[in-house]
């Protein structure tokens, strides 16, 4: 097989709001290029597990290679690259974008630009991609192409006269789009004679071959049986399989600079894979790895405890399994006075933590109590070496402390200009310091230095709600900074509940303590006894609320047929109690341990 010349390759992604027709357009591109027929299309193929097995590799991402013959007779290879989508995974998105030279921005011709599209479009612009704006669904009677095209010009800053009109459903404008991609998206750069460098931008687990890597070859080439080195992890492997996705995996002997494909290299688990890693050849390696690699390190920590102590082993086994498929997640055993035996887990971000927790509950059928997320603090004691803590409970007594340092980030926030005020107010409230602000047309880029602890839980949601969804943000870790932080403890009927402790800024301690006590009162149901909830810093109680004793819990009628039903209601009541943790004589429901997340929700 002759090698495809670099200048005949185009690598691009599609940026779109969820139902603006990204999949339909992708399918249509595959059809028009003859990659698949309308009948035999990808979704159907994916349903066919036997075929999949026969081919040997499962395909996760909506990535595909198309052969395109331009009207002038020249042939091209177009690689459509899929991108994932949330702030915790913005690094993964950035790597996928780094594998492209262009992006097709799809906007629904009647709906106009949606927040998510804009956020992703900003990322693509920042990544230096050539943007091709497309108005889709122009066949709909409600389509307003002129209005939406103007909107694209105003909000994204692209020339309205440049916008392509497409109906993916009817196939209208698709040929023009293909031609536009060839015309506008730059051919990949890179030196095929230089030492090999390939960017790992996605990966997934296949039960038959282990880790499957999606790569973009940047320099040189990868061939089957090459001895390669992963520059970030240092591991060395042999390339066992190379494939391109058409959209079935189709084995190839080699991939040259500019090409995109699948690599199977004997990596058994995803834990051995780093997104953003550079593959080079073992003999004659590149001097430098591709720029932009970031070790995906846990930034957010929370305790995960089984509701019932007996489930500890099951939780441990489930965490071990999850870890195999997620290198960015970490855990170690932890003991809480209130919650017993559990694990302190580290996540990339809050959402990542929620996903892990949900998988544990759903796929492994575990009932879990999660503690409020925290970040990793640096503790400088009066005597001895500084050390890091990932749990408020691990903070030494105030008397033994010289000071505490908190992790800082630099957040880059993109917003349409009308929302700047709201975003600035939010950042100030989160103890942020403005670094700079740049206006690009109607879009504003704001950079703030913020304590990570102030953004881990709900900052993303707050940005979204302050900007009606149009804002997006990404952050970079900036090291540690000394801050007047204190440990806020919660006492329930006099017993300290370690799992409810928080590390907070001294100036906010009083208001947060008061609010936390009040929130807990909402979460803790009335019980046989009155329950006193106190918030304290050291020995000083700063807030106090009371949950009054349950006064009445009685079924008025209980005769014949009702007996089964009444018994079931009692059983339900009992199950509800079982899902609560008993601290002293007080039953605390699971949700209460996350009460800290609800602070400021009014």
């Amino acid at each position: 097989m002759t090698e495809i010349p670099r200048e005949r390759i185009r690598n691009f992604c599609i940026v779109a709001h969820i139902d603006h027709g990204k999949s339909t357009l992708a399918d249509r591109l595959l059809e028009v290029t003859g990659t698949v027929s309308a009948r035999d299309h990808r979704a159907q193929f994916l349903d066919n597990m036997d075929l999949e097995r026969e081919r040997g590799i499962t395909i996760k991402a909506q990535t595909a290679r198309m052969k395109y013959r331009a009207p002038d007779g020249d042939s091209y290879v177009l690689n459509l690259i899929d991108t994932p989508g949330h702030v915790d995974f913005s690094y993964e998105v950035s790597r996928a974008l780094a594998a492209c030279e262009g992006a097709v921005l799809v906007v629904d011709a009647s709906q106009g630009i949606e927040a998510q599209t804009l956020a992703n479009a900003y990322l693509a612009i920042d990544a230096g991609l050539e943007i091709i704006p497309v108005l889709n669904k122009i066949d709909l009677p409600s389509a307003e192409p002129d209005r939406v095209a103007r909107e694209i010009e105003e909000v994204v800053g692209l020339d309205a006269s440049d916008v392509l009109l497409v109906s993916a459903k009817e196939g209208k404008g698709v040929a023009e789009l293909l031609e536009r991609i060839v015309e506008r998206v730059p051919a990949p750069e890179g030196d095929r004679d230089a030492p090999t460098r390939a960017l790992v931008f996605d990966s997934w687990f296949d039960p038959y071959v282990g880790a499957v890597l999606l790569v973009r070859v940047v320099d040189g080439r990868l061939s089957v049986r090459d001895r390669v080195r992963f520059m970030a992890t240092g591991s060395e492997r042999e390339v066992q399989q190379l494939s391109v996705i058409e959209p079935y995996p189709c084995p190839v002997a080699s991939l040259a600079a500019g090409e995109v494909g699948i690599v199977v290299a004997g990596l058994k688990t995803l834990a051995e894979v780093r997104i953003g890693d550079t593959i080079t050849s073992r003999d004659g390696p590149a001097a430098e790895a591709l720029v932009g690699f970031r070790e995906a390190k846990p930034m957010v920590f929370a305790g995960l405890y089984p509701v019932e102590a007996e489930a500890y082993r099951d939780l441990k086994a489930a965490l071990e399994k999850l870890k195999l498929n997620d290198s960015s997640f970490a855990y170690e055993p932890e003991t809480s006075v209130a919650l017993g035996f559990g694990f302190r887990c580290g996540f990339l971000g809050f959402l990542h933590g929620e996903i892990i927790q949900e998988r544990l509950e759903r796929e492994y059928d575990l009932d879990l109590i999660t503690t409020a997320p925290t970040v990793r603090y640096r503790v400088v004691p009066k005597s001895g070496e500084p050390f890091e803590i990932e749990s408020p409970a691990a903070l030494p007594e105030p008397g033994d402390l010289d000071h505490i340092e908190e992790p800082m980030i630099s957040a880059t926030i993109h917003v349409p200009s009308e929302y700047v005020g709201a975003v600035l107010a939010l950042c100030q409230d989160r103890r942020g310091t403005q670094q700079d602000m740049a206006v690009h047309g109607s879009r504003v880029q704001i950079r703030y230095r913020l304590p990570l602890g102030e953004v881990v839980t709900d900052f993303h949601d707050r940005i979204k709600s302050a900007t009606r969804g149009y804002g997006s943000y990404d952050y970079e870790f900036m090291g540690y900074e000394r801050a007047p932080l204190v440990k806020l403890d919660i006492l329930v009927n006099g017993d300290m509940v370690d799992a409810l402790s928080l590390i907070v800024h001294r100036d906010k301690a009083h208001s947060q303590g008061t609010e936390l006590a009040r929130k807990l009162k909402e979460f803790i149901p009335r019980q046989m006894y009155e329950v006193a909830i106190q918030a304290a810093i050291g020995t000083k109680v700063i807030a106090r609320t009371t949950v009054k004793a349950l006064r009445k819990n009685v079924t008025a009628k209980c005769y014949g047929g009702d007996i089964t039903r009444k018994r079931k209601l009692l059983e339900k009541q009992k199950r509800g109690k079982r899902r609560m943790k008993k601290v002293g004589n007080v039953e605390i429901p699971q949700e209460a341990f996350l009460a800290a997340l609800k602070l400021g929700d009014e």
């Binding site: 006894y529 819990n553 009685v554 047929g561």
Partner: protein, 399 residues
């Protein structure tokens, strides 16, 4: 159970002229119950009785309860047919308590002497309240005055065992301008009750049952019920006033003058066999070698399904629910504890092989320590006053 085995017969009559917005019983709206429809239903009841009676062979009849629905919508001859057939199938254990639930309306009032002649010995009258506004708010069809007249007519017909239903803690009236406090309304209902002086009072706190219009209205915020504190105070007020007047609170919601406890109702709390016939009726079949703690069985709640099954000679009952030892133990505890006498350790041990403490020691200790439960030296268990108020919290430890 000691002595010869007995059965209680429950006969469900699902028809109601209108359906109360808080009711979740198996009922069918029948503005006027025509004789054809009535006869078809009675025929089905008797056919079912014929079919089921062998399951209770050798049991004598201790009680017969016509409940609903509105069984007083039946013609007295229908009631007579049911009573006669029941006594034909089961030898009556003299004297059999025969109760009819009565709705306070004019038609039914006129029939009271005939019901008595048909063999009814006890009436359970759905008074609910003696206040027109309250009745209207509860969605009841009758007026307070009709209630009073029905009570008087019951006495005039010679009924000397009358029970009266009170429904308190209904929609909070104080939420409205000029509305009176729930406590004031309850006191007035209790005054009227005591003035009449029934032998038995069932005093229920209004409960929101899922799927009823009241539950939906409460969910929507349209309906407000008294808060927990008020409701508790009302329960205490009922107990205080009725016990002061010589009634015994022999079950959480049941009050009786000496010698007038409801024989039939007590069977449920004592887990004694009950044969339930009619649409949606439940039966508790006696223990057998295959089901040492008995079997519970429910009839279809759909009228047509019930009728068609019975008429075609099939069973109208759904899947039987055999009571496992664990379920039966839980039920034994929570049903017995509803009664003033509570749970007798010896009887429990006779059925389950060991006294309650053997199965429930941690719960018993925690609950006695919390002053919700009392344990006698023999291991008998009773609820304390606070335990009665928090009985579901107590019961949840045993199921």
């Amino acid at each position: 159970m000691q002595g010869e085995p007995t059965v209680g017969l429950y006969v469900h009559v699902p028809f109601c002229e209108r359906i109360c917005p808080y009711c979740d019983f198996a009922v069918v709206a029948a503005r006027r119950l025509g004789p054809e429809r009535e006869d078809r239903y009675i025929d089905a009841l008797l056919a079912e009785l014929e079919r089921r009676a062998p399951d209770f062979a050798g049991h004598s009849l201790a009680s017969l309860y016509l409940g609903g629905g509105t069984p007083s919508l039946l013609r007295p001859e229908s009631v007579r047919r049911v009573i006669e057939e029941a006594q034909r199938h089961f030898a009556p254990l003299a004297p059999v308590e025969i109760t009819l639930e009565v709705n306070p309306s004019s038609v039914e009032r006129e029939r009271l002497p005939a019901f008595r002649a048909a063999g009814v010995g006890r009436l359970s009258i759905g008074i609910q309240s003696f206040d027109d506004t309250r009745l209207q708010r509860l969605g009841r069809a009758h007026k307070a005055e009709e209630g009073r007249r029905t009570l008087a007519a019951a006495r005039a017909a010679g009924f000397d065992n009358v029970s009266l239903d009170l429904l308190f803690a209904g929609p909070a009236p104080q939420a409205e301008p000029g509305g009176e406090a729930s406590e004031v309304l309850l006191d007035r209902d209790l005054d009227a009750t005591l003035e009449f002086g029934p032998e038995h009072v069932s005093a229920y706190e209004l409960t929101l049952e899922a799927g009823t219009p009241f539950a939906a209205a409460a969910q929507a915020g349209v309906l407000r019920l008294p808060d927990e504190e008020t409701a508790a105070a009302l329960i205490e007020r009922v107990e205080e006033r009725l016990t002061a007047a010589g009634y015994e609170r022999y079950e959480i919601s049941s009050y009786a003058r000496p010698g007038f406890r409801a024989v039939h109702n007590q069977r449920y709390w004592l887990r004694a066999p009950v044969l339930g016939i009619g649409m949606g009726a439940w039966s508790s079949e006696p223990p057998s070698p295959g089901a040492p703690h008995g079997v519970r069985r429910a009839n279809s709640r759909q009228l047509e399904t019930y009728l068609e099954r019975v008429e075609s000679g099939r069973s109208p009952a759904g899947e039987p629910e055999p009571l496992t030892p664990a379920i039966a133990r839980g039920e034994a505890v929570f049903l017995s504890l509803r009664r003033r006498e509570g749970l007798a350790a010896a009887g429990f041990a006779a059925e389950f092989g060991a006294p309650p403490r053997h199965f429930f020691a941690p719960a018993i200790e925690a609950l006695t320590e919390a002053h919700l439960l009392t344990e006698s030296t023999d291991g008998d268990l009773t609820l304390t006053a606070r335990g009665r108020m928090l009985s579901d919290s107590v019961f949840a430890h045993f199921v």
